[in-house]
């Protein structure tokens, strides 16, 4: 029973981390329809920033808001310089431009920081929360909890602010948004900024848990794609649910089937879910043929 609970909680925490990783990706897609293949690289950027801030004496969790705003700025600039032009181009072009960005960021990271592994090790890095025989690492708990809070905040931002309303309107119908006077170029830039900010934030929260190195992004991109498509591309709660599903699948299949089987398990489940519910678990039906909505 202890083992089961331990696995359950570990899985939920891992799922929370995955949800956090995927938040920015799903937001950017939901609004701009851009599948950001450089998502993992922006997470990497967040991790590097956190590392260097930590080197300067910042606690990683104090660094996190700084990283969020720095990445927000990077996102806005990237959108303005590169992606704005692609809005009128075929969808494929956008995919490819983000792929190009990921190549450039990986290579740039390697030139600037070498291929060394960097580790952020705060004093509480090994702190545990113990409930009976169940032990959970503090850093992962914080990441998972902040994933929840982050999702809720982004959700509130979208629901309760004027900018949020503009973002949702643009996501649902960019032409109509334009007709009512919403500057959709600004909306895209802000959305991309928030999405990249979330990616950077995820990086900051992951930095005390995982090492950072130039190619760390690919794994994060792949996992967030699985999570996001599973949960429903473009749906914020979907990213969280998708993350939890993948996290639980991972820990349980690793323990009860075989550690080697976990990728096979979640890719199989992934395909099955997509076949039965093509829009993902929380995606709106039919959205797989056009993208998704909130």
């Amino acid at each position: 029973m202890d083992i089961f609970l331990q696995l359950l909680l570990s899985g939920l925490l891992l799922g929370g981390v995955y949800g956090l990783l995927s938040l920015g990706l799903t937001l950017v897609f939901g609004v701009t329809r851009i599948v950001n293949f450089a998502h993992g690289e922006f997470v990497m950027l967040g991790m590097y920033l956190t590392y260097f801030l930590w080197q300067l004496g910042f606690d990683p969790y104090l660094a996190a808001p700084v990283v969020f705003f720095a990445c927000f700025a990077v996102g806005v600039v990237t959108q303005h310089l590169l992606l704005r032009k692609t809005l009128t181009m075929p969808h494929l072009v956008q995919v490819f431009v983000t792929l190009g960005i990921s190549v450039v960021m990986q290579a740039g990271a390697q030139l600037l920081f070498t291929s060394n592994f960097y580790f952020v090790r705060p004093s509480y890095g090994n702190a545990m929360v113990e409930i009976g025989n169940i032990r959970l690492p503090l850093t992962t708990i914080i990441a998972a909890v902040l994933a929840l809070i982050g999702t809720a905040l982004v959700h509130l931002f979208l629901k309760k602010t004027h900018t949020g309303a503009a973002i949702r309107a643009t996501a649902q119908d960019p032409y109509a948004a334009n007709v009512v006077g919403i500057e959709i170029k600004t909306v895209y830039a802000v959305t991309f900024g928030v999405g990249i900010g979330c990616a950077g934030l995820a990086g900051a929260l992951l930095a005390p848990i995982y090492p950072v190195y130039p190619t760390v992004g690919l794994a994060y991109s792949l996992i967030s794609f699985v999570v996001v498509v599973l949960g429903g591309l473009g749906s914020l709660p979907g990213a969280l649910i998708g993350g939890l599903v993948v996290g639980l699948l991972e820990t349980f299949s690793a323990y009860y089937i075989s550690p080697e089987a976990k990728e096979a398990t979640y890719f199989t489940i992934f395909i099955i879910v997509l076949l039965l519910r093509p829009a993902g678990l929380l995606g709106l039906r039919g959205s797989e043929t056009m993208g998704a909505n909130h």
Binding site: F96, G100, V104, I271, L275, E288, T289
Partner: protein
């Protein structure tokens, strides 16, 4: 849809003349390729040309689904790997010549593609892309774990015992000739496809999915057929790669990167055009080879950085890829030339 109707309207009048010219041009290019392939002596150049031909075949094959069909398939590495593994396994276990193994691999890939195509028919854009990625991951995981058949992560080696019957040559030029043949096959198929109903249906599917859906069964069939053809060609390339490199393992023939490369080259060259992917392959292979050669890895990732930047620039500023750029330049030149004439 508009452009389609225009082009189909224009075609009949031009068809006879342009068809003749196209065929002549094609014969000349193919002839030149074969002569170069058999005469080239510099091994590095032979290798470079081989890489280009293989890359062009793969990009051209991907283009059938990704360019003409407009479906972002990011799992073609699966077919590449299936081709490489099928022929190699058949050779090692049953001593079946890779020439036949190659066809078996292509058939296997085509069948699987039809199956995947059938179940993912409803999916579009990122959903389709992710399903193909997941499918490739599954293939990779199966290959990795089926040790007795596939050699697991260690992979399989192909002994180098030159014997043309066993698809093993003492000189590189022979491999190159096979690669040229594959490329000719791929691009002839795409050229023919572009002129036929299949190409038209795919185009329609890409341009206006809803309208094409009303075409119904035919559209579905067109998509499945194109997916199968594309997969089969990529599988042929897989066997060729295996025979040339003499060793295959899950990382070298089943990685995500391979799927991406096919798509990137196709996009750089010009999506949905016949010769675009070939241009993309030439540009990608030579530039990465040159950049790597110039910097020799001494500046770490600089060549990757430049490659990435160049790629983004082409995507952003050359509409329709390199081919589109070339056509634009030609148009501008002829216009200027034409104006000059009228002035004089």
């Amino acid at each position: 849809m508009n452009t389609n109707t225009i082009s189909t309207r224009i075609q009949p009048s031009l068809q006879a003349a342009s068809l003749g010219r196209t065929v002549t041009l094609w014969v000349i290019i193919v002839g030149a390729l074969y002569i170069t392939a058999s005469r080239l002596t510099d091994e590095h150049l032979v290798d470079l040309m081989f890489q280009i031909m293989l890359a062009a075949s793969l990009a051209g094959a991907w283009n059938i689904v990704g360019g003409f069909g407009g479906q972002i398939a990011l799992g073609h590495a699966a077919f590449f790997g299936i081709g490489a593994y099928t022929s190699t396994i058949l050779f090692q276990h049953y001593h079946l010549t890779p020439w036949i193994g190659m066809l078996a691999g292509a058939l296997f890939a085509a069948l699987l593609a039809t199956l995947i195509g059938a179940v993912t028919l409803r999916l579009r854009g990122p959903f389709f892309a992710m399903t193909t990625v997941a499918f490739t991951e599954l293939v990779r995981i199966i290959v990795k774990n089926w040790d007795s058949l596939t050699g697991g992560t260690r992979g399989l080696w192909i002994p180098w015992e030159p014997n043309p019957w066993n698809f093993s040559f003492s000189d590189r030029n022979s491999y190159l000739l096979v690669a040229v043949t594959l490329a000719v096959l791929v691009f002839s198929t795409t050229a023919i496809m572009a002129k036929t109903k299949l190409g038209f249906l795919l185009n329609a599917l890409r341009e206006d999915a809803d309208a094409a859906r009303s075409v119904g069964v035919k559209a579905t069939r067109a998509r499945l057929i194109s997916f199968a053809i594309s997969a089969a060609f990529v599988a042929l390339g897989g066997t060729l790669y295996a025979q040339y490199s003499l060793s295959i393992d899950p990382t070298s023939v089943l990685s995500f990167d391979i799927s991406i490369q096919m798509a990137l080259m196709s996009a750089v060259g010009g999506l949905g055009t016949v010769i675009g992917p070939a241009l993309g392959a030439i540009a990608a292979v030579t530039s990465s080879s040159l950049l790597r050669g110039w910097f020799g890895g001494e500046l770490g990732a600089l060549h990757l950085l430049l490659y990435g930047v160049l790629f983004i620039l082409v995507m952003l500023y050359a509409r329709g890829g390199l081919l589109g750029m070339a056509i634009n330049v030609k148009k501008r030149l002829t216009r200027r030339f034409g104006q000059g004439q009228s002035d004089v």
